[in-house]
Amino acid sequence: MAKAKNIAEFIIERDEKKCIKCQACVRVCSNDVHNYDEETEEILSDNIKCVGCHFCEDICPTGALTIRRNLSETKENAHWTRDYIYKVVKQASTGGILLTGMGNDRPYKNYFEHIVLNAAQVTNPSIDPLREPMELKTFIGRKPDRIIYDKTRGKYILKERVTNLLELELPVMFSAMSFGSISLNACKSLAKAASASGVYWNTGEGGLHKDLYPYADRAIVQIASGRFGVNVEYLEKAAAVEIKIGQGAKPGIGGHLPGEKVSEEISLTRMIPEGSDAISPAPHHDIYSIEDLRQLIFAIKEATSYRKPVGVKIAAVHNVAPIASGIVRAGADFITIDGIRGGTGAAPVAIRDNVGIPIEIAVAVVDQRLREEGIRNQASIIAAGGFRTSADIVKAIALGADAVYIGTAALIALGCHVCQKCYTGKCNWGIATQDPYLTRRLNPEIGAKRLSNLLRAWALEIKEMLGGMGINAIESLRGNREQLRAVGLNEVELNLLGIKHAGEAW
């Protein structure tokens, strides 16, 4: 049988008139796509190695390179599309699980694109955020049902203070991305931007590198099934702790960092031998039930003297609402729900593309369930998984989220072009790699500035949308599904989302 050949996903077009043979592309590409032939003095590009990260295109001083998708088509077939054919070809050659990076790229129904927002007209004035205060301040954590105070000489004095809350200047945080899956420079960019913007970043399960200690008061540290990098200092330095049960890109399986990426710095941070695979077990082996989770939550609370919020992150799966309710009753101060489009540094394609449910529906049913049980104030809901614009965030908050995590959007701000090859460790943008030659391409000062810019831009847009609705504080949008209307959803979807169809009045 003929050896099956892989097909090139991209075609590199080089405009020979513009190319000055400077060989910048040859030097920068971590995938060795470009080669200079000294005899012919030509640069040859191997399409098959190109991952479509566009780094050479961006760096080329004369604009001679264009990366295009390879339009070579297999015979038209609605069922056996090119993607599926070549997946089989690859696996027949290797006998292995297909890996990928970033979030689900399948065309599942995107509910954000079926939801529209309201604006005030006549009976209610819209508010101009340039002229009036517009408040985005958000608190994450457990809140009491009621205030208790003493009134002495006309003054109100609190009898019980509310503690252990994260205070956010806007309801957006950076999602869990570990040092290991991304470079230290990428971690620094996120940490600096979170500190500068008054939000929080998340260490993922990669531990807390010493260089990141200055930003630890803005860090949510993760405890995942591998317990990498977890020690007393880790817990004490953090602003909050998140127990990671699952993530949207790979519900039901643990993280995986190949030994090749475990450099000295990562080995020290994760507290594992250099060069060893860091493979997290699928479950936590001390959590086989909700009561076990409760024990871990309270063990962490004890260890941190009840001074920090402790949350739990789960992937959005079929039974998400009852699970979330159980987690809140188990003592979690916040619950992170990661939807089917949540990203990752490495996951099996089959899992990423097929397991989980959309975040829009998950947030809606969890918020509703917690309210029905009268425990919504006991924990905050953080939504994650595929937030692309400020409008997606506004919709998630109106559906019931307290705040959202962004991962992919943050990496795009740092240069990522979503080529989905994070697992190879060859990221040309210096993000998902540990190769010092590549990581120094990402300047953390510039990275932090770009991330802060993104947060600022989204905050301004959120304010404009709020003002349009005649609302001047984000809490009046939170769970306010009257501000949403659906376009083209069926009755089951409308009920699950708890929203009306466009055209229905109040």
Binding site: A120, T123, N124, P125, I127, E132, P133, E135, K137, F139, K143, P144, D145, R146, I147, Y149, K151, K155, Y156, I157, L158, R161, V162, L165, R371, G374, R376, N377, A398, M469, G470, I471, N472, A473, E475, S476, L477, R478, G479, N480, R481, E482, Q483, A505, W506
Partner: protein
Amino acid sequence: MEYDQLRKLEKNAHIPSGCGISGIVNRKGNLFSGEKIITSICLMTERGNGLGAGYAGYGIYPEFKESWCFHIMYDDIRVKETVEAFLENRFDIVNEEPIPVKNVKTLKYIPLLHRYFVDIKNGRKEDLYSQQEYILSTVMNINKNFDGACVFSSGKNMGIFKGVGNPEEIGEFYKIYDYKGYIWTAHNRFPTNTVGWWGGAHPFGILDWSVVHNGEISSYGINRRYLENAGYYCTLFTDTEVITYLFDLLNRKHKLDFEVIGDILAAPFWDSIDIEQDMENKDFWKTLRIIYSSALVNGPFAIIVANSNTIIGLNDRLKLRPLVSAEKGDFVYLASEESAIRCICRNPERVWMPDAGEPVIVNVKRDRKGKDG
């Protein structure tokens, strides 16, 4: 539209309204005729469109002041009989009669209007809170489950009178000038839709609360869900319902002072909390905003809320709807427009515009008898 269609529309949706509101209180609890409040509200003709008006009076039923009083409107005699059977099971009926009305030819869709003075069976043994909870659940039950019946007033020694019409017609119809009270509030409605159902008019009330409201609540969606969490089910008469339940929850159940409730419904901005020098105040406001974030009422509003002991005027935190207050002697006045005060009190001692989000709170100190004024 036919009445049935109109009513269906209103029961399934809340209808934005612009409005005029007015309130008068005698601080000593002396009674005065409803004539003044009619004069005041009728001056603000421009603020209504003839599709809703109403009045609330406190101290109007001295002869039955120990009994709970239900004002109920019925679509037909059949539902009246069902509800009455239900009431007889739950209460000792002390007195019942049709609400006295005068024939006003211009009014349409007039429902059957009846009032009941009732005691809770063996209720005297129970504390006030349990009695109130019992009344609350009764009212919610009737309004939710008895199609064609609506309890629109359910306090003691107070009553709400309302309907579809302009304030002159409704005042004349119910003969408001025949009652004497120590607090009066009134409403003139400008709904954006055609309306026919009398239950949709203001004041809105539960127990001895009454609320007249000018505004539209942009935070309605979350305020309603917050209240559902606390066991209040909005039957979607009007978004004013949300404000009424918030007052009941925060004052009667959470035992918060009205000043504090003002800081919840119209919360101080973070900018002003941030610059507050007094750390105790700062902590208090911050905590208040954290705990009661879902009770913040966003959007334009001016409201006058009353119960048996207090009348409160409050604006949204940007003051997007008008509210003026004035005082003279024992009387305090609140209204959408100054003219609506001056037409009944020519030379007030003080007239002021309450600041955005700053409540005007007037407590009534009644001596036991309460004099006629």
